[in-house]
Amino acid sequence: MAGLKMVRTDSVAASAGADLRAENITHMFDTDDGALLALKDVSFTVEAGTFVGLVGPSGCGKSSLLLMMAGLLLPTDGRIAVRGETVSGPLPEDIGVVFQESSLLPWKTARENVEFPLYLRGVDRQVREKAALKMLDLVGLGEFTERRPHELSGGMKQRVAIARGFCQDPEILLMDEPFAALDEQTRMTLGDELLHIWDQNKKTVVFVTHSLTEAVFLCDKVLVMSARPGQILKEIDITLPRPRTYEMMATETFGQLRAEIWELIRETQAK
């Protein structure tokens, strides 16, 4: 029995993620020119273990929403709930984040960056080192564990950031345009790898992107937001089967879903 237990805590979790809800979120920013209404009555549900995309015109409040889910920004009105409980601050054990590449700490090696969330929680050195090396292996950086960010390419840095997001085994992973700084080929490859990792542990993922192809390829559901003040225009179920393959991109369904999202964004931008 004891042996079995060891294996379980060691393997990349058996948990299936937690659900996350946004309830009537309205947010105003104080600016030099007065109050700015960024989000208006935003509500949605992200089911446990699903991969949900967030798309919308620039400035519609996607990043702000993500910060709220991470507990780093409190909404003016409404609430974010994880497993029904209101989020009022960071939940490092439940929620992992991946921002754009600049969030890696440049004075730490790839391994130390991946370990960082565990280090903050006071996890034993050997345990966190083992977990970090395993995650780095999984994202194909087994040979670069002792390199600092300035010695890595853009794609490698994002792999490190993804490894860091998964390393502490959170229930929910929030990603804000994690591949935005990468060329198209690299981002396709990384998207594919992300799905691979996700397939193994089925975390709840919220993924902000500007790439509609990426949104359709990765997600179970895509939330389309309006131009500022951000509102949810439509929730689009991505009916493509899993596991996803590149061939699906050439299918009619894929094209229709992509076109539907684009149409919504084009309309809201025109207003």
Partner: protein, 255 residues
């Protein structure tokens, strides 16, 4: 060839070679009469004199006075300068109000204020320390402002999302992010500080390396003068290089 030069040993021997070449050229210039030996004594006289000075109690006493002034000024001004810089860099309110003030003053040549320091502090130890501090404080403040502003909000956002405590934010984000810039500021501050103390000693004083050098110059003791200059240069270079070594060590990640 280029490989040998690129390597560390090759680079160091090339650097030593250049220094030796300069001294050789200096010697030859004096010996051939290209330079006037009464104004520029040859290194074959200056170098042994500089070494002999290190055993001379009068010179050692004056060296000690200068070092004590420089060190005391540095120990006093470093925390003050860094604290002011961090406050201005971190606080929007103080930053907006007082940052321009420091940037303007930094561009004013500090040496014109020396007479004011003599009136305020006399011509002794205290005045030298005060003037060294005054010379150093602006560059310290400005680099501490730069250090505070170099801490990316993305680092803080990520660390907070992963549950960093306030203490962890300071020790694991602010400190390592700012350290290389702060040490660079300390190094520059030290150079200004040494310059300030030596300058004040040369202007008017009763002791110190600057006092000696100035006396030797005015009484036309050229060998002593150049030996004194060599000592002052060696001292400053040693301090500067030590701080630069530390700066590179804590800032290796800057690539």
């Amino acid at each position: 060839m280029s490989h040998g030069l690129a390597s560390r040993a090759g680079r160091i021997s090339a650097q030593i070679g250049i220094v030796v070449a300069i001294f050789l050229f200096w010697e030859v210039a004096v010996q051939t009469g290209m330079a006037n030996a009464r104004v520029l004594p040859p290194p074959s006289l200056v170098l042994p004199r500089a070494v002999a000075m290190l055993g001379d109690p009068v010179v050692l006493y004056n060296l000690w006075i200068t070092s004590a002034q420089v060190l005391l000024a540095f120990v006093l001004v470093a925390p003050i300068g860094i604290a002011i810089g961090l406050l201005l860099g971190e606080s929007d309110y103080f930053g907006r109000a007082f940052k321009p003030f420091f940037f303007f003053l930094a561009s004013v040549p500090k040496s014109v204020f020396l007479p004011v320091f003599i009136l305020a502090f006399g011509i002794g130890f205290t005045q030298k320390v005060a003037f060294g501090m005054f010379q150093a404080i602006f560059v310290l403040v400005i680099s501490a402002i730069a250090a505070a502003e170099s801490v990316s909000s993305d680092f803080l956002k990520t660390a907070r999302a992963y549950g960093a405590s306030r203490r962890q934010l300071y020790l694991d984000i602010y400190l390592p992010a700012m350290l290389p810039v702060i040490v660079e500021g300390l190094r520059l501050g030290m150079i200004f500080n040494i310059t300030g103390v030596l300058f004040a000693e040369m202007y008017v004083s009763r002791a110190g390396l600057g006092h000696l050098v100035s006396t030797w110059g005015m009484s036309f003791q050229m060998v002593n003068l150049f030996a004194g200059i060599l000592l002052a240069a060696a001292l400053s270079i040693a301090v500067n290089e030590a701080l630069r070594w530390y700066e590179n060590k804590v800032g290796a990640w800057r690539g």
